[in-house]
Subunit: 668 residues, 3 copies
């Protein structure tokens, strides 16, 4: 458990650098990320590199005992590069090139930009790959930010045709797989196929899905060019990329296959304002963020790396105060920066790195707080970071930071499957204007967390052996391999599987699953979906549970034919809302919070997992034999974990924004 | 009264065809519409036709005793055609060509596409024009769907200039008619005139209106090329086109002049979600649809054909379950497909044809239900279609289906005038952001229906002799001919005319009617409009009626000078809300439901028509000496028509989604 | 105090002209504005002028004793001009030329259009510059209407580069000033710099701000070409331009430096519907307009001219009835046209000129009322204009109209500073989606008016010596000069300064003010801003005042460090909402009406100004020794000013839409 910070020496007078480094070290910061937007300073003129300032900057950090996370600067190609090669620009759905003047203006498919990206990566890696201060590398910055994965350039068009040819071999195979007989959409050659934009009404869903897959693969390929170069020139250093929140434009599991550590950029207040929460939730959580937004991503990114790197993750950018980019940007309540930092450690983060050391007084992000204000004074975030560093030392957890020790300490017995192709399927074919697959996934996750359960968010390829409860809130993709693994898991014991609506509904070409949904999951779930409804806002169906209590479904409803499953909860017309078939549970609709809790409480019990109904906005996380109790509410709450032995930090009484860390008694 | 179905043999294995046909016949289906999107299968390579599969498919249907409705495939030109002639594409208001990859991507004005359309129509008509199975033809599919009437291509620009020259002869005449002295908008030649798009603020209203007229004429011309070919090669067969709901981009009366039968595509739930209903109505009617949406269109399309074909109409596509294309797509309640089918027959449909026989498992409409599911199992819609077929036989109404017998049986005494140019005028110049002329027309219609009145929706050219009450809810166009016919009608007896606000307000160039609104209707209405208000949401004026009851006006308000008319209902400031002048009634605003009912109850009484206040969401339709009672509510209702003699189907007690058919006693 | 009218002889039969003129004179109208859209009639063919009709028209008006306000017709270049020089068109942010067919389609930066503009101005000025009827000139019409200030043409691009070079001399200086090291945005030459559009995410704020400044300067330069020509050919006549409401696209103070009189176009109902009022306010004021919308602009435009012309202003276009261009267009209540006219005089207008004499029956504005209807009958607005003319005569105020006598009679002791660059800064960097600097300015103004205070709205360069209270609701721009003048003012006596949030926060390059906000105002305000929050809708913080009363803040919140200031009102967490530091007051947030009133009541008292809590929607204005009492409410109100001597018009009892004019006793 270590702290880090993002730092831009090129933005500050050189006479401040040594003082900055000294104060970082004094504050307890160990890692410093630099240079990810510095191309125009590294190469101010084509081919002429200026390393001097960067050499001195790294030396200064090194001298203070700090470890550098070095970045490739490819997210911001300078103007001279754009002017010399305008075809490198991404092109939007209207055919307009996305211009210079902010960032991420390149097209992932551009061969010339890939070459430029390799050239600058090689230059930086050669210069600093063996530098003793350099501990890790970050490729580029926030792939896909500002909707930059999908480009409709000529390069993308050519790339897509080649990608399709490689996948389908013959155009007849493609026509058949997509169902192009519909509306005379048949092609006679791959060269007739354009990107799926500009159509009169919606473009073909299989066409759109393959374009999403292609675009995701382009991100993977672009990233791999850099990781290959970095591994060659800087062996032994961790290579990472900083992912984002609620972001689905490319398959993160695929990109992570080339990384040692997954990192992500955690802005709880910005995400609360900009995503799918209701306006009441946006008000309620304006100054704390929704408690499960950071947790959800911590658990997601902990599941990204595999093999020897399994469970390795950082927060690369931690919100330190108000930001500038959300629709509204409140300041966090005092204590939230500390609470968020500890929350990340509680979920297994190796490093929490704040963005940024000091607020810039100029340019697009000048209203984005840092640990310090533009006048060099320490801001509230800096105060709280200092407190965390001291607390880490005080309770002896800092020592656990360097290695991957924490990562494997997660003992979650609940797996929630998140599958990017399934998300794309629902986004392409929502069927109801507000059917957001990320939202239903998040709502299911949040209900699990409110029941006191620790959760691993895993890919569809994950090994499920250690889990007692597997949840698939939005796994639209027909997935026979996963179905087989679930069946094997259930055969072995008491493991339970919970399917959300639309599970297994679509085959690889976004057509109907064989024999009606849930396709490959039908044998497990014991149902066949006969028809579906998407429900307009305000249409809500009551759901009655065996104990007489009621919950509500909205958004989506399925009428199913049971094939072995038994109705557990029913609508007023007697049709099943939730069914159980042995160790499998199927929800025919989109439950509210009460409905998810009813369902998970029962499934967890069947799986042998204890649940608790935590106080509102209180969350707990177990890591190794520690339990971290986090109070996101505006009230004082009393809480202690079952079988607690010792309180390391805080107490049974948690003030708003309060935290307690407990050691469990050895018996459990 | 016959049933039909839409079928796509090219989308299914040939080994299923015979079974499909046999089951259609067994189910009681008589008509099968085919081939309207099959161009890429009919002509997979330019100039090389593949008739074999279609020959076999038609033969299979024929062998089962089914009658084929053959279509021209021009709504979906294949990719090879687009690539060989990109100028055939429609162009949007931003100058972008509307691309391949869905449907309706052609420009109605393209000479080359008109030639292609004639060529393929000729080919299909020559092949099947005399085929004994072919009972009727459908041209293209849903003209204008996805906003495809207005195109801004070079061809449209040239066509528009020629159209203007033919209309105005000299550009000075155009300048004068439009009022181009305003804002220095005068032209020196027709070649200076561009389509009315891309202007800094709103384009000239007369310019826009003529462009709408031109675009509508282009649809008529495009369609006539096909109907001429079809009549030449397939004499004796009905030629139709399938129109859509709430669709106003071209003048349907003009297109219908070239048709034998008007057909339309009825999707009650989709229209309920996608059009102007309030969000409370969208919730309330989510699973039944608003009861008057199908009825309104049945009555509209019954009024489309003229002469020997007067009153002839079908439902070409009947919603059979949930669809895919609305904002939200709930499944209809059980019983609704049956109720909708009977509702169409009650309004005089010759044929109700379901879309589609079987849900496609792939492509854009895979979430659109059919009578069967993708796995060939019978869906709820199929069950209910079967029930209707059996009921038709049981009560002896099936026999009435083939001929045009029903059509003339409508005995509506109320005519509601719907005038496409008037709709365009209000759309171009709404004056208030939510002034939708289709909505006020529909609201007036719905009030009439709630009073138990049968309604013919007619064009402004219709013969009005048989009507006791003529309603003009949104007839903005100054129409001296109609005024004269109304005056003659009133002179003959007790016939009443009801004018909505804005009646007769605009001349042919969308300028003020002579001598202030209501222009040519002023002598009838006995008022002159002095000023108008459009009212923002929430501004509502109370209207007090002679019986002391109150209703509310919103959206629109006129201050009138009376010229003979007497105030019937007043606002709180004493100004008239509704006036009467002999046999004419004028509403100065946009009434709510209570206001329309007050007005129509009085006007109907003056016209000698009995009204009743039907139970909520109950509707009745008289056809010949039958009365069809339809319960769209969620409650059981008791109802029997006055002077009923015999109940043929159902009973006095109607469950939700229930239907009863009564025979009237001969005395009436 | 004189009346005027806008008139379009070219739109009416010549045989009506003499009658129109006679009736204008009889009604009491003195000024007639003509010809501002008449280019196509003045020069129907390139280079061939038709002066005859205009000569006769002016002669007719002259013969009736009317004074002509002559216009340059440059807002509507005719089609032949556009076709001969398409590069003169403005270009939108998507790169599309803004086409012919409405108005204002030119680019201010186009050299060729500037030449055309000079040519036609020269022609008109030569023809009529010395005409005895011509009393004044208006340049163009409503600069910037329909968002036409910002253009992205090639001419604008070239002009911007030259403008930047002139400002920064070297590109290094620009890079440093803007902070282009951020995100590698550094340029190597001015030729690399494009307009700030088309970027992937937000463009650089300093880049945007300089583009706004450049575009504003282009308007000034365009206008000056015309004013130079007019002064040369028509010396001694007033030159004006008609500005608009809530319009911020260019710096009005800069344009006014070249004018003799500021005029503006007052449409109270349209502005009420189209701007930032809440939907409840839009309903409540639908038929009267918000009382402070006209007043705010009267006070703003009265402050525009300087030097010998200080305080000179007119209403050039006064709403006479319902208009056509707002989202909704209600008719004003009877009496409102009279009340608005008197309100303008009460604020010091020399002339109130109605738009327009007669409603046009055709083209875009046919639904815009005039003093007469299209059929030549007198409309309600005409009746009320006549009444005002008679009242002016009756109470002897008409005589004061010709000279600038009224202008200097304003004795407001409150100055509200409105600074266009500050508005641009907040628009570019709102930080919260609903932070509208014009709204907070207007809300502060309205609170002052509700306390019975007269207000001068002044530029940041204004002489403040005569003011007791200076209010800066949204002065984001760091402004050392203003700070120094405020300090001097306070040093001299009891004058008070009130700062809204964000005051002085930004330097000239839209970077942080030195030493944290409020920058140059820090010494006055006695605070330093430590962090800021923008607050989503519904997040409201209670503010507790010394008297125990509560108000609410929303939208914005600052945490400040006090440097001498004392908290006056606090949030529930004890942090200050409003602080006082000697004669300066600082609000850390966006107060509601109650909060502004609390603050201003105290500051006014400290300044020695008496305030009163006026009845709801009643307003008073003092002009010389007259007080004008205006009742915008829907209730009868009793009110008389303190120290009144004589009631010239009306009475103590004011009916809705009522007006009273009082003479004050000489003692005060
Ligand atoms: Zn970031
Ligand atoms: Zn259809
Ligand atoms: Zn105007």
């Amino acid at each position: 458990m270590q702290l880090g910070v993002c730092y831009y020496p090129e933005q500050w007078p050189e006479e401040w650098w040594a003082d900055d480094a000294a104060r970082m070290a004094a504050m307890g910061i160990r890692y410093v990320r630099i240079a990810e937007f510095a191309w125009s300073r590294i190469e101010p003129t084509p081919g002429e590199f200026d390393w001097a300032w960067l050499d001195r900057s790294i030396a200064t950090l090194h001298a203070a005992g700090l470890r550098v996370v070095m970045c490739t600067p490819t997210a911001t190609p300078p103007k001279w590069l754009v002017d010399s090669d305008p075809a490198m620009l991404a092109v939007d759905a209207n055919g307009q090139a996305r211009g210079f003047g902010s960032r991420r203006h390149y097209c992932f498919s551009s061969p010339s930009y890939r070459a430029q990206s390799a050239r600058i990566t090689e230059a930086v890696a050669q210069r600093y790959g063996q530098h003793p201060a350099v501990a890790a590398w970050q490729t580029d910055n926030e792939y896909g930010c500002h909707l930059t994965v999908l480009s409709y350039s000529q390069a993308a068009r050519q790339g897509f045709r080649a990608w399709l040819q490689a996948k389908y071999i013959t155009v007849d195979a493609l026509n058949t797989a997509w169902g192009n007989v519909f509306w005379s959409q048949e092609y006679r050659s791959f060269d007739e196929i354009d990107p799926p934009v500009g159509t009169v009404t919606e473009a073909h869903p299989a066409h759109r899905l393959d374009y999403r897959r292609f675009a995701s693969d382009e991100v993977v390929a672009f990233n791999r060019i850099q990781t290959d170069i970095l591994r060659q020139h800087s062996p032994g250093r961790d290579v990472t990329h900083n992912f984002m929140g609620f972001f689905t434009e490319f398959d993160h599991h695929d990109v992570a296959a080339d990384l040692d550590v997954a990192t992500w950029d955690s802005y709880p207040l910005g995400f609360t304002q900009d995503f799918f929460l209701s306006s009441l939730e946006k008000q309620r959580y304006a100054r704390t963020g929704h408690p499960d937004i950071p947790a959800f991503h911590h658990d997601l990114y902990r599941g990204l790396c595999t093999g020897a790197n399994k469970g390795r993750w950082w927060v690369m950018e931690q919100q330190p105060g108000p930001v500038n980019w959300a629709q509204w940007n409140p300041a966090p309540l005092d204590g939230m920066v500390r609470l968020w930092t500890w929350q990340a450690f509680a979920h297994g983060a190796e490093v929490v790195s704040y963005f940024r050391w000091r607020q810039a007084p100029f340019a697009q992000e000048q209203m984005h707080a840092g640990l310090h204000r533009p006048d060099r004074s320490l801001d509230q975030g800096g105060l709280e970071a200092t407190q965390v560093a001291q607390e880490l030392l005080a309770i002896g957890l800092a020592a656990t930071g360097d290695a991957a020790a924490n990562a494997s300490a997660s003992q979650a017995r609940v797996a929630l499957v998140l599958d990017y192709p399934s998300l794309w399927m629902a986004q392409i074919q929502p069927q109801g204007a507000d059917y957001n697959p990320m939202e239903i996934t998040f709502r299911a996750y949040s209900a699990l967390r409110q029941l006191g359960l620790d959760v691993d968010i895993v890919s569809s390829r994950a090994d499920l052996k250690s889990y007692a409860l597997v949840v698939l809130p939005a796994h639209l993709r027909e997935d026979a391999a996963l179905a087989a693994r679930l069946a094997a898991l259930q055969a072995d014991g008491t493991a339970q599987a919970v399917f959300g609506p639309r599970a297994g509904a679509k085959n690889q070409a976004l057509s109907f699953a064989d024999g009606l949904p849930p396709g490959a999951f039908a044998a497990l779930a014991g149902v066949r979906v006969q028809r579906v409804s998407s429900l307009p806002p305000g249409v809500v169906d009551a759901v009655r549970w065996p104990d007489g209590s009621l919950s509500s479904n909205s958004h989506w409803r399925e009428d199913v034919q049971t094939q072995g499953a038994q109705a557990l909860a029913n609508f007023d017309d007697g049709r099943p809302a939730v069914l159980r078939h042995g160790s499998s549970w199927y929800s025919t609709g989109w439950p509210d919070e009460a409905g998810w809790k009813q369902l998970f409480t029962r499934a967890a019990a069947a799986a042998g997992l204890a649940t608790q109904d935590l106080p509102e906005d209180l969350r707990t996380s177990r890591l190794g034999n520690h339990v971290f109790v986090q109070n996101f509410s505006s009230s004082t709450v009393h809480y202690a974990p079952v079988n607690h032995a010792q309180c390391l930090l805080g107490a049974r009484e948690l003030a708003p924004q309060g935290l307690a860390i407990w050691k469990l008694s050895p018996s459990i």
